[in-house]
């Protein structure tokens, strides 16, 4: 069964140097169970192919039903050096929410 991430979670992204961080927060416990199981590092790496050129780190925060991802080498050098329109990774959260999970 296909589940759209945007139906079960919201997200916020920011920058940490040349890495973008994306925190995905499930709306309820059922949604958190789904992302805990299916929103894997591999899935995120594949989803951001062509955007993230480094490794992906994944950290669970069950206390707020969230999973935090660090996407390395994503921001074109980061901060003031980057020529990207979205040099601070503010849109990575929305881009993450395009994902569909097979559950």
């Amino acid at each position: 069964m296909k589940v759209k991430l945007i139906d079960i979670a919201h997200a916020r992204s920011g920058d940490k140097g040349d890495a973008g961080n994306v925190g995905v927060i499930a709306y309820d416990e059922k949604g958190f169970e789904i992302i805990q199981k299916y929103l894997t590092t591999e899935k995120v790496k594949k989803h951001f192919e062509g955007i993230c050129f480094g490794k992906v780190e994944r950290y669970e925060m069950p206390n707020i039903r969230a999973i935090n991802f660090l996407l390395h080498n994503t921001l074109g050098g980061g901060g003031t050096v980057s020529l990207k329109h979205d040099a601070q990774g503010k849109i990575l959260a929305s881009a993450m929410l395009r994902m569909e999970l097979e559950v």
Partner: protein, 456 residues
């Protein structure tokens, strides 16, 4: 000891909503107003201002703001803490005293935290064994050392506590962690032991929730943002802190926005790495320990926060000059908007190549088509694309190349594809690239200290 204190965020960054601190002071009771005026490379901008005039080097918005809010702050006993002192916190404090005198305020103490600026001590620090390697890449600072524009240590809450203990009504700092601005009043008012790391973490987490202003009260919110009311007068967050370490995040009643589990949770995950290891000068906070409870009515309780001992190092934020960049843009319209924009991009690149210009990087993006989500963008039948903005950016160590590029945008209007518009504002000018260099320095090599300026 107060049974609770209300700490209000007035600014999340340099360039934030100008009216926000004024609303915080006038739309409800608060005890402290905390404001962050420093982004990563702000110090370099302030340093340039100070180089031109030794009386400058602090956030220029502060004097204007003080004129507006000092009378209310004096009357309601609201203390102000800000890192807007930049590279000249003394000059900032002196200006505040001058303004207070001018508007008839009597009895004001401004505490200044000093010691964070290590720009003049770099060689000395390196000779003491601290190499200031880039903490993200491991690179040596030696190749960029001579291009350094600023170097500031991130102090935490304790120097601010010192200033408050010395009677400061207003505390002006240079580089301080945003979280320290919010934690300091809690330590001071509740007599917290800095070695109680769970309490340090509780104040740190409250500081993280406050540090981006309205980003925790419904701004930039990817949850149910459409139902949020009155963005125009969005209420910035207020941390209602208790001696136990419990904090209730709220906002003034007659303001817009929303404080809910969802809005606060989004801010909690903003710009964090490993949640168990949120490192500050005051503690290492565990963001995976935080409990949130939505109490309704725009009140969210934050509790059960755990922390560990702080590290032996301070983070240093340096900036250095690293070339020039410029951005040009043109808008192409239907029919075949994308084809036209792509062809213009080809033409421009060929012209720059023919001119023999040297660039470190050239980046083309098509805004309205795929600039923000790249390969994840939905592919569209070109007939459905109404318009596309070609955004063309260059970076080079050679200023001439960047300047010469700026003169190649306008000609495209008459010498390239049709249906083009959106050229206003003259030639894109080279802008200096100020790059960021984060490093670590042993705490024992830096000494914060407080100076008090008084208006009797």
């Amino acid at each position: 000891m107060k049974e609770k204190i209300r700490i209000a965020s007035g600014q999340g960054f340099w360039g934030d909503l100008i009216e926000a601190p004024y609303w915080q002071v006038t739309r409800g009771p608060i005890d402290y107003l905390v404001m962050d005026y420093l982004a990563e490379v702000t110090m370099s901008i302030l340093q340039k201002q100070k180089n031109k005039n030794p009386k400058f080097g602090y956030a220029r918005d502060i004097p204007e703001l003080m004129k507006k809010i000092l009378p209310a702050c004096k009357k309601d006993n609201i203390k102000i803490i800000t890192n807007g002192g930049g590279v000249n916190p003394i000059a900032c404090a002196e200006e505040i005293i001058a303004i207070a005198k001018e508007i008839g305020i009597k009895g004001l103490k401004v505490g200044v935290v000093l010691g964070d600026n290590i720009n003049d001590r770099i060689d000395d620090i390196i000779s003491q064994g601290c190499e200031l390697n880039n903490m993200e890449t491991g690179e040596s600072i030696v190749p960029v050392k001579d291009n350094l524009l600023s170097a500031n240590v991130y102090f935490g809450a304790l120097p601010i506590v010192d200033a408050l203990k010395k009677g400061a009504d207003i505390v002006i700092t240079g580089r301080t962690t945003d979280t320290g601005l919010t934690l300091a009043p809690m330590i001071y008012e509740f007599g917290w032991d800095p070695k109680n790391y769970d309490l340090m973490a509780a104040g740190t987490v409250a500081g993280h929730i406050l540090e981006c202003g309205a980003q925790s009260t419904g701004g930039n919110f990817l949850g149910d943002w459409e139902s949020i009311e009155n963005f125009a007068e969005i209420g910035f967050p207020i941390a209602e802190a208790y001696p136990s370490g419990e904090v209730i995040i709220t906002k003034h009643e007659n303001t817009g926005g929303r404080v809910s589990f969802d809005t606060v949770a989004e801010q909690l995950v903003y710009e964090i790495g490993d949640p168990k290891s949120y490192i500050t000068p005051d503690c290492v906070a565990d963001f995976s320990s935080i409990k949130l409870e939505d109490l309704g009515n725009n009140r969210v309780k934050v509790y059960d926060v755990k922390g560990q001992k702080e590290t032996d190092s301070y983070k240093v934020s340096c900036s250095y000059s690293s070339g020039y960049s410029a951005i040009g843009s043109l808008t192409y319209s239907w029919p075949k908007a994308l084809t036209k924009a792509k062809r213009a991009d080809e033409i421009l690149r060929k012209r720059l190549e023919n001119l023999g210009l040297q660039f470190e990087e050239i980046k083309t993006e098509f805004i309205g088509y795929n600039a923000t989500q790249g390969p994840l963008s939905k592919d569209l039948d070109e007939d459905l694309i109404n318009e596309v903005m070609l955004r063309f950016a260059v970076r080079s160590k050679d200023k001439y190349s960047v300047e010469r590029f700026g003169k190649e945008i306008a000609p495209l209007i008459l010498t390239g594809p049709p249906s083009v518009t959106g050229f206003a504002g003259g030639r894109p000018k080279p802008s200096e690239v100020v790059a960021y260099w984060p490093a670590l320095i042993p705490k024992k090599l830096v000494e914060p200290h407080v100076k008090i300026l008084e208006l009797k």
